[in-house]
């Protein structure tokens, strides 16, 4: 604000200048309208995705109810009206099914048809909505505390210039937006990144990585924070929370359907149940909520499934079970295939587009707050060049200003290096004789856990733990200097934590080397590689170039190369060639899904009739 006239405008030729100008108020209005359009699209996508899903889920619900009723009936006779009622419902369902399958449509009474369709679809819809509400309620209660613990966030140190500046800028932007200032948390992560997280504007928090403070000047920082606070003020957190809940509901649905086949899904369900019944506000509970959310958002993936594992173990009993449960297994596949297809082709892209307009809106609002489009623009230009990696930030990737996912996989130390580290660790124990360290069975896993605990203690200010880490580092350096160079010097880590500038620079230099600290969070690294991120046609982060262009229309002067005409032409031609193939594949998948849905319906009906008759016979005998 105060440095408005210090913005340097270099010769016009190098800077991108837009053809049209747009005021930030117009830009906001345009993006608000786009939000409405895209929300309508998302609702449509959710409905289209829901129809096949409910068509498959509803019979399963009926199956469960019918089997339960049969079992109850065996021990304790149910009234005849119940069976009559269920017979009527089944009749309506069959009428609708017949109508769907027949090639030349006979005239059917529309009320009967409507009732039939309702019978086929309503229970599934009801179940999904109930699950969604339950998920929203569950995670709203837990808030974002657990996630913050996972990120190892800390309060800013007001005695340090840059961190004081951060606190000040947040206050300034909150005043400019007329909002209460959100709490700030700092993360000591290797990437330069920032996010506003929370479930709504009331519990919003701003998360900033320390590196962002070091890399941006005051105007740029102001732009970034204006974007985040404007995003909170525009109500984006609520939207993001709903989107996450949507994906988690899908995950819960899959877990429910998988639960007869695999221990992993049962474990998730059990943890959710335990979490929702145990009322406690401790940190452990918050962490539990974060862990559950993580598991749920993962279980929609097609890989590493319980059901695959179920088939892997071959035995006579298993084959018998497979035969008996075949309709349910088929239904399971149909559900997962349609979930995977529709969420990747339809729902995720439309949600991503919706999220893009929210980002553009927040950019326009940020310009309104700072009245300095160049601050945000040059911040985005810097962030574009740098890694934005935040360990533990995957679950909220869409909330960060740039994607926090690691760009490459961290190399794990090989066996020899592991032994070196383990030996050094054993030797660093204060009361152990240096010569007594055993070489044979070294429990690297156990050592890693100890090491993580010690690091946590050291960062909390435990002098003994700090000493031990120092000894460890020296020991490793004595045995294998190259290996030691991969790790940050503990002294620098502690000094950086206190806000020492030169230590921070040394750490930065050590990061430039290929290996980022594998010791920082070994358990997190392991789980991350096992999960495949859900793929989608459109990413949740809009392209920086497009954002910069929009900022330029509002008066910023970013350094952008003029768009490459030839490149776009080539891309268009490639798209034109491959689009028919893509459509063909999509059509084929749709056909497969519809076949599977109908097949699973038919099999399920036969299966149910069989079971029902068997129970009838049992009852008569």
């Amino acid at each position: 604000m105060a440095t408005l006239n210090s913005v340097n405008i270099s010769p016009a030729g190098q800077r991108y200048s837009p053809a049209v100008r747009e005021s930030f108020l117009d830009a906001q209005q345009r993006n608000r309208r786009a939000t409405w359009r895209l929300s309508a699209l998302c609702t449509l996508a959710a409905v289209v995705m829901g129809i096949p899903l409910t068509l498959v889920v509803t019979p399963l619900i009926y199956a469960v109810i019918l089997v339960a009723a049969d079992i109850t009936n065996y021990f304790w006779k149910l009234p005849a009206s119940f069976w009559q009622f269920s017979g009527e419902i089944a009749h309506f369902g069959f009428v609708a099914l017949n109508w769907l399958l027949e090639s030349h449509r006979r005239h059917v009474d529309p009320t009967v048809l409507a009732l039939g369709i309702a019978v086929m679809i309503l229970p599934g819809i009801l179940l999904s909505v109930v699950l969604w509400i339950a998920i929203v309620a569950l995670f709203r209660r837990s808030g974002v505390g657990g996630a913050l613990l996972a990120l190892k966030a800390r309060e800013p140190n007001q005695a340090e210039l840059k961190e004081l500046q951060l606190a000040d800028v947040v206050q300034e932007m909150a005043i400019a937006a007329g909002l209460p200032a959100p709490r700030i948390m700092l993360v000591d992560a290797p990437g330069a990144n920032a996010a506003a997280i929370g479930t709504s504007a009331d519990d919003a928090r701003i998360i900033v990585s320390r590196r962002l403070l070091d890399d941006l000047d005051r105007d740029e920082l102001e732009g970034v924070l204006a974007h985040l606070i404007a995003s909170v003020g525009n109500g984006d957190l609520r939207i993001a929370f709903r989107i996450t809940a949507l994906f988690e509901t899908c995950g819960l649905l899959v877990a429910l359907i998988n639960s007869p086949f695999g221990p992993q899904s049962r474990r998730v369900l059990w943890r959710i149940l335990r979490y929702s019944l145990w009322r406690s506000s401790a940190d452990a509970a918050k962490q539990e909520a974060a862990a559950i959310a993580d598991m749920l958002s993962r279980s929609t993936g097609m890989d590493g499934d319980d059901i695959d594992r179920f088939f892997e173990k071959r035995s006579r009993f298993r084959s018998f079970l497979t035969f008996v449960f075949f309709p349910i297994i088929l239904t399971n596949f149909a559900i997962k295939l349609s979930l995977w297809f529709f969420s990747n082709v339809l729902l995720s892209p439309s949600l991503a587009l919706l999220w893009h307009t929210r980002q553009y809106l927040a950019d326009a609002s940020a310009v309104q707050l700072t009245r300095n489009p160049d601050g945000l623009a040059s911040a985005l230009e810097k962030l574009k060049e740098e890694p934005g990696e935040i360990p533990g930030g995957d679950w909220a990737a869409h909330l960060f200003i740039v994607n926090p996912k690691p760009s490459g996989r961290a190399p794990t130390p090989d066996l020899r290096q592991k032994q070196t580290i383990a030996r050094a660790w054993a030797a660093s124990e204060p009361h152990a004789g240096a010569a007594a360290s055993p070489i044979a069975p070294i429990a690297f896993q156990a050592m890693q856990e100890q090491l993580t605990a010690t690091m946590r203690a050291a960062f909390a200010g435990d002098v003994q733990a700090m000493d031990r880490l120092r000894t460890l580092y020296q020991n490793v350096a004595a045995a294998d200097p190259a290996l030691a160079a991969q790790f940050p010097n503990p002294d620098d880590l502690f000094a950086a934590r206190r806000g020492d500038m030169s230590a921070r620079l040394r750490l930065r230099a050590s990061e430039k080397k290929p290996a980022p600290q594998p010791q920082a969070q070994p358990e997190a690294a392991n789980t991350d590689t096992s999960s495949s991120s859900t793929m989608s046609l459109v990413g949740f982060h809009s392209s920086m170039k497009r954002r910069l262009k929009r900022l330029a229309r509002m008066g910023a002067h970013p350094n952008l190369e003029p768009s490459d005409r030839k490149g776009t032409m080539v891309a268009a031609v490639i798209y034109a060639i491959f689009a028919p193939f893509g459509l063909l594949i999509a059509g084929g998948l749709l056909f497969l899904i519809s076949i599977m849905t109908l097949a699973s319906l038919t099999f399920l009906v036969v299966w149910l009739a069989f079971i029902h008759e068997a129970f009838k016979l049992l009852g008569h005998a």
Binding site: N5, L161, Q165, D168, E172, G178
Partner: protein
């Protein structure tokens, strides 16, 4: 019979609209008042900050007694100005000008600039000036929304009757314009 129903329906619709308009205008007016109060809060914060600032730099700036004296005097003037808007804005502008003068001098003392506590103070002062500016900006934006809501058709027919009048913007005085020419931030 049916015409009577239609008339009743139209009257009810108009009433609902008037109530909605009234509530919207009240909400906007409250935001304007809130914006004004925020400027006040930030100005008070500046009054509280000035003494510690002067204490910190006093040791290094023995030769600049007059500058420090001006700042202290200006602060007294601003605190004493009370609630009269005109007097107050003059006094606050004087304080802004005095602080600007002080910071222009501080830049001549490299050893002072190197002290960390000065840097922190300078940051605080930059921030307080920014906060005042942003509070004004917010206030003016809200005044604009409030006035637009009142003066557009058909609300302008009712706004006066319901007891709303247009609010006035916070305009910069000559002293403030001078401040804008000086780079404040570190």
């Amino acid at each position: 019979m049916s015409t009577g129903l239609i008339v009743i329906g139209v009257v009810a619709l108009v009433l609902v609209w008037v109530v909605a308009t009234f509530n919207r205008l009240v909400a906007l007016r409250n935001r304007v008042q809130n914006g004004w109060a925020e400027i006040d809060v930030q100005l008070k914060r500046r009054h509280d900050l000035v003494p510690s600032l002067v204490e910190t730099v006093r040791g290094y700036m023995e030769h600049e007694r007059s500058v420090l004296e001006t700042v202290t005097q200006a602060r007294f003037g601003a605190v004493a100005a009370g609630n009269n808007v005109l007097e107050r804005s003059v006094a606050e502008s004087a304080l802004t000008a005095a602080l600007t003068g002080l910071f222009a001098r501080v830049e001549n003392y490299p050893q002072l600039q190197a002290v960390e506590s000065t840097q922190l103070l300078q940051e605080q002062l930059t921030s307080i000036e920014n906060r005042i500016a942003f509070a004004r900006q917010f206030y003016n934006d809200e005044v604009m929304k409030y006035n637009t809501a009142q003066t557009t058709f058909p609300r302008n027919l009712f706004a006066g009757m319901l007891g709303f009048s247009s609010a006035s913007m916070f305009t910069a005085t000559e002293g403030d314009r001078a401040v804008a020419q000086v780079k404040l931030s570190a």
